[in-house]
């Protein structure tokens, strides 16, 4: 056990993946000597060489597109997109090729590609550095989409993503990179929970709160505050957005009768929409209130001086909980 930040936990996970499988490659902008703008790949090029930790030309489509070819050749590329807002030049390759190759080839050319994307706001950055584009990817058949919320999960999930034979878009909550936890850096992924399952991170009987990535900590804080008021929130860390672990959420909602979904991404057509639709269908007679959603607004991510007004926070979560209870 070592007290480790999420950034370092991912770094350790990448290192293990590189050690365990010679077919694993890292690709991206500034991931070599610089170790990535968040230092997540720090030291890896030094130890694994330029052929395996590849500083790419400044072209996201090129990075993902060449990763497709490398995957066809039997490699397991792990691609870093420097910031959320820079994934769009690669969107065609991701949606048209990465996502569809396995189906097109009837399983003959699977795409074991991991696309790491630091995402979300709260770090006071300029435009395009604080977005939450996960819904675009979760809507796309053929991709898996996961997001850790803490260092322990991050260490396991990044390796599980790399080990998965399907493409995985791995969203790293950048404002939690510096969160610390005790991580067992010798832990095997064989014994870890599947990354495609949600986890109840705090049990409670009043209202279910489903969230993921950066919002898990916010929701846990909200739960502490609510508990002081006698409201017991059951907080579920979804962890996976595609597949979405509806059964775990449904089981909880059948007990609580109320669900609030929280994410930074815009509410309109965000993950909360899908979860609301599905839970309502599956738990229609258990629901005592409509599923309520807390998230970003239907605006571009605002200038950083306004981001605290944009991002869901403890108060907005509790406000939604109040509203759910008021039904």
């Amino acid at each position: 056990m070592a007290v480790t930040t999420m950034a370092k936990a991912i770094n350790a996970g990448l290192r293990k993946a590189l050690e365990d499988d010679p077919k694993v490659l890292l690709m991206g902008e500034d991931i070599g000597k610089l170790g990535g703008v968040f230092r997540v790949t720090d030291g890896l090029q030094k130890d694994f060489g330029e052929a395996r930790v590849i500083d790419s030309p400044l072209a996201e489509s090129g990075i993902v597109g060449t990763a497709v070819g490398l995957a066809m050749r039997g490699f397991r590329p792990v691609v870093e997109i420097q910031f959320d807002g820079f994934v769009f030049p690669a969107f065609d390759q991701i949606v048209t090729q990465v996502a569809k190759h396995n189906a097109r080839s009837s399983g003959r050319t699977p795409m074991p590609i991991t696309i790491r994307i630091p995402y979300g706001g709260g770090i006071g950055a300029v435009e395009h550095h604080s977005e939450s584009p996960e819904a675009y990817f979760a809507h796309t058949a053929g991709l898996r989409v996961i997001s850790p919320s803490n260092p322990v999960d991050a260490f396991a999930m990044v390796r599980q993503a790399i080990a998965c034979n399907d493409p995985v878009v791995f969203f790293e909550p950048k404002r939690r990179y510096w969160d610390k936890a005790d991580v067992d850096l010798t832990a095997d992924i064989a014994s870890a929970t599947s990354p495609f399952e949600a986890r109840v991170v705090r049990p409670g009987g009043s209202v279910t709160v489903a969230c993921y990535g950066p919002m898990v900590r916010t929701c846990l804080e909200a739960a502490t505050v609510a508990a002081a008021d006698g409201t017991e929130l059951e907080v579920i860390d979804l962890r996976s957005l595609s597949p979405l672990d509806v059964p775990t959420v449904a089981a909880s909602v059948r007990r609580t009768g109320r669900l609030v979904v929280v994410h930074e991404a815009p509410v309109f057509l965000g993950m909360g929409a899908e979860l609301a639709a599905r839970i309502t269908e599956e738990c229609f007679y258990s629901l005592e209130a409509p599923v309520l959603r807390v998230g970003g607004y239907h605006t571009p991510y605002p200038p950083s001086r306004l981001e605290e007004d944009y991002l869901p926070d403890l108060d907005r979560v509790l406000d939604a909980v109040d509203r759910a209870l008021a039904f």
């Binding site: 490659l25 052929a51 395996r52 790419s56 030309p57 072209a59 489509s61 090129g62 993902v64 597109g65 060449t66 990763a67 497709v68 070819g69 490398l70 995957a71 066809m72 050749r73 039997g74 490699f75 030049p89 065609d92 390759q93 048209t96 090729q97 569809k100 396995n102 189906a103 097109r104 080839s105 009837s106 399983g107 003959r108 050319t109 699977p110 058949a141 053929g142 898996r144 998965c164 034979n165 399907d166 495609f196 595609s242 597949p243 979405l244 672990d245 509806v246 059964p247």
Partner: protein, 381 residues
């Protein structure tokens, strides 16, 4: 831009079938090999015309003709070693032929029974790529993989003149140059991207695009199978020897429509087609073979017979291609189980089962069938 490809055009066989020489490029082929190339060209054209006919008969949804481009495809395809790997567009029927992909596998895509058709690993040829330019980056990535495997094979990557405008294609040039990847970029410049003439994509000859990225570019007569073979051989050899990428521009003309859905009379002039018929890639090789005594009437007749038999088999094979099972659409979305896909598949199967016994005798229900019947048997309404 000159209609004849200009002085820089590498040519070893003139449209009249005369064998000429070039200071930099040559091939030395046995009569057997030359006859083999002729046979390739004829059979590939026969696949093309048969498939076109099958589309007209409603057996295919679409067909992308390659008529006129056979020499570019066969010449480059035959230059490949078994360990090399080819990345095609949607029109490389001649390359597929050279890689041993059965023509029926090509047809299965255009019939709509699959979005793929063959095993890329078996033939060292990727599946057809329909989105213009996407495959060029895959090709470079695959070549980067060869470098990492210390495999001194090479990759060949096909695309059209129109494709050169796509960002991805230019990024492929950047990556290939920067990593010195063993890849040959093979651009079939048939001078049209559907209805758009070359001037909508470039104001200089396309082979010169390579200058901007720091690797060699060469323009070859795309209707001259010998010149294409020679130029491709040289580029592949350079790639294998660690000299990195080459751009080959095969100057050619597609004598058919863009696809069977297209009507080129709206944008091309008939005279062009007539002029290019005189440069037919098959005809010139035939003349050369005949004049030089490397093939006789019997040989040509035998190839015709073989082509005809192949066409019949292809036609029958196409008609017999079964539709896939409906639920197969869920099969390979992921290679490991995915909760949503599994639940949708289950719903789908239950739903289909609800129609099957009463109304649908076939193995795979046509969900349109029961529609009207809803009026008749629908219970709840």
């Amino acid at each position: 831009m000159t209609a004849d490809g200009g002085p820089e055009l590498v040519q070893l066989l003139t449209p009249e079938g005369e064998r000429v020489h070039h200071p930099d490029y040559d091939v030395d082929l046995t009569p057997d090999q030359l006859r083999g190339l002729y046979r390739d060209l004829v059979l590939v054209r026969r696949v093309d015309t048969e498939a076109t006919a099958l589309q007209r008969q409603g057996e295919l949804g679409l067909w992308a003709q390659c008529i006129g481009q056979e020499a570019a495809q066969v010449g480059s395809g035959r230059a490949l070693a078994p360990g090399d790997f080819a990345f095609p567009t949607y029109r490389e029927h001649g390359v597929a032929w050279a890689r041993g992909v059965a023509p029926l596998q090509l047809l299965s895509l255009f019939r709509g029974v699959t979005n793929g058709g063959w095993d890329p690993h078996e033939h060292n040829m990727a599946l057809y790529t329909i989105v213009i330019g996407d495959q060029t980056l895959h090709a470079v990535g695959y070549a980067m993989g060869m470098q990492r495997d210390d495999d001194d094979s090479a990759v060949i990557c096909y695309f059209g003149d129109g494709a050169t405008s796509q960002g991805d294609v230019n990024e492929a040039f950047v990556f290939a140059a920067v990593y010195n990847a063993p890849v040959v970029f093979f651009c079939q410049n048939n001078q049209w991207a559907i209805s758009e003439p070359l001037e909508r994509q470039t104001r200089i000859p396309l082979y010169r695009r390579a200058d901007g990225f720091g690797f060699p570019g060469v323009r070859v007569d795309g209707n001259d199978v010998l010149a294409v073979l020679a130029v491709t051989n040289a580029a592949l050899a350079a790639a294998r020897e660690g000299q990195g990428p080459t751009l080959i521009e095969a100057f050619t003309y597609r004598m058919g429509a863009h696809t069977t859905s297209d009507d080129p009379t709206r944008y091309r002039v008939a005279a062009d087609l007539e002029a290019w018929k005189l440069k037919d890639p098959i005809e010139r090789l035939k003349v050369y073979l005949a004049r030089s005594g490397k093939a006789d009437h019997d040989f040509f007749a035998a190839v015709e017979v073989e082509a005809e038999e192949m066409a019949v088999a292809l036609r029958d094979g196409c008609r017999a291609l079964p539709d896939p099972a409906p639920a197969s659409m869920f099969d390979h979305v992921y290679s490991e189980p995915h909760l949503l896909v599994e639940s949708e598949r289950a719903t789908f199967e239950t739903y289909h089962a609800s129609f099957a016994p009463a109304l649908d005798e076939g193995a795979h229900g046509d969900p349109r069938g029961p529609a009207a019947s809803h009026v008749g048997v629908g219970g709840g309404h």
